[in-house]
């Protein structure tokens, strides 16, 4: 997990008109946010757009951030909502056959490695809600409590959703290799 000890201080500076204070927050959280988006939507350009939009929205809504809570949970929630909105809008996307690299980006997928391509393909067969818990847990390393705070659902629901998601993902990966 990212150490955001002085996040609140930077937020305060932003709220007092120091726009530059937002830059360290972008630098600090760009990688996790981009990776959440990438694993949710698969396409790097779409992930980049989602990440950028999430940061801009976060900045615009900084005044509504409740400083009793952790900044990253609030920021991740904005990014997660952006991902879900994007996926909902794009809906027609049929599940990719697991094990196949992205059809629109075969070279990149090859460079990134067969494993990443297989995992991404399998992830895309999960519904967005299940995909999200796998991404937050296994790619960002969030705890159940942190996931609960980001997704605004009880920890028990997070556990049960992740349990099901893992089973489905494991089955998909296994069937793709046999």
């Amino acid at each position: 997990m990212v150490d955001g000890g002085d996040d609140h201080e930077l937020v305060e500076r932003c709220l007092h008109g120091d726009l530059d204070a937002f830059e360290p927050l972008v630098v600090r959280y760009q990688k996790p946010l981009f990776n959440v988006a990438l694993r949710m939507v698969k396409d790097r350009e779409d992930a980049r757009d989602i990440t950028q939009t999430a940061f801009v929205k976060a900045f615009e809504k900084l005044g509504t951030f409740d400083r009793r809570h952790r900044f990253f949970s609030w920021l991740y929630r904005i990014a997660v909502n952006e991902c879900l909105n994007f996926v909902t809008r794009r809906r027609p996307a049929a599940p990719l056959p697991p094990g196949l690299p992205a059809a629109d980006d075969p070279e990149r997928s090859a460079e990134a490695g067969e494993l990443a391509g297989r995992i991404q393909g399998a992830l895309m067969t999960l519904s967005p809600e299940y995909r999200l818990v796998v991404v937050l847990r296994h790619f960002l390393g969030l705890s159940y409590a942190e996931m609960s705070a980001v997704l605004l659902i009880p920890e028990k629901t997070v556990r049960s959703r992740l349990h099901t998601a893992r089973e489905r993902l494991a089955d998909t990966l296994r069937s793709a290799t046999t």
Partner: protein
């Protein structure tokens, strides 16, 4: 304790590294005894190893610069106007800031009085944006009207108060979705003197002749100060619009005593 725990739960907890040594040992014992559980554990542990091997990808190198460029462009529009000038002035030189507020109030008053008509004001995009006067600087007010605005998805209340030649309209609203808060008034009866809001309310504010509209999210309080051009009462309307939300209330503004 571990004897009664569902082996599937133990398996998931093992994958998360949450099992105690005793629980891990218990799980291993059950796996050794149960071929079905053994198959399930191999499948999940294999998934865990595979996921662990896939690292995070680096974001595009220009992402930070692009985000900051967009924010600065938006910031220049949202914060670079009256809000920024006002805030900075108050922080550094309060006396100057009150002078600035007074000057801004006079300009807005002139707008409301018709010295500059709508034609001179131009399009909506050219209307003034931001905060002019701080709340509570215009003397004593007595409450004239109070109306509940609450509806599904938000809570709110609107209050009007009357001071010496001045009307204050206040809306307090709390919502988990974006709303548009609009004050509407007869520009012939009132001239806008200023606008105040709670610190947490950061949405864009557009001041026009006869109307103040605010992009709201979360929790906030908004106050509009109006100079009364006549002792006669004239109503003021508060409107809340959002997805599936449309609430409108007419509030009395009282007579000059």
């Amino acid at each position: 304790m571990t004897e009664r725990m569902d082996p599937e739960v133990l398996l998931q907890r093992e994958l998360d590294g949450e099992n105690s040594p005793a629980e891990s040992a218990e799980l291993q014992r059950r796996i050794a005894e149960d071929p079905r559980l053994r198959a399930g554990s191999e499948k999940l542990f294999s998934l865990g190893r595979t996921l662990a091997e896939v690292g995070q990808e680096d974001p595009p190198p220009s992402l930070v610069a692009d985000v900051m460029r967009t924010i600065r462009a938006n910031g220049a529009r949202v914060r670079g106007g009256w809000v920024e000038v006002w805030r900075t002035a108050f922080a550094r030189r309060p006396a100057f800031a009150y002078g600035l507020s007074l000057a801004a109030g006079i300009v807005l008053g002139a707008l409301g009085l018709g010295a500059l008509g709508p034609a001179a004001l131009g399009t909506r995009d050219e209307a003034a944006v931001g905060t002019i006067l701080p709340p509570g600087r215009l003397g004593a007010f007595r409450q004239v009207d109070r109306q509940e605005l609450s509806s599904d998805g938000f809570r709110g209340v609107a209050v009007t108060r009357r001071g010496d030649g001045t009307v204050q309209a206040e809306v307090r609203v709390e919502s988990n979705r974006p709303l548009q808060v609009t004050f509407e008034f007869d520009a012939k009866a009132f001239s806008p003197l200023g606008f105040g809001r709670s610190e947490a309310a950061e949405g864009e504010v557009v001041l026009e002749p006869g109307r103040v509209s605010i992009a709201h999210s979360g929790k906030g309080t908004y106050q509009v100060f109006l100079g009364a051009r006549s002792a006669e009462p004239a109503p003021l309307t508060v409107r809340i619009d959002g997805q599936g939300i449309q609430v409108e209330r007419s509030l009395e503004t009282g007579r000059q005593e």
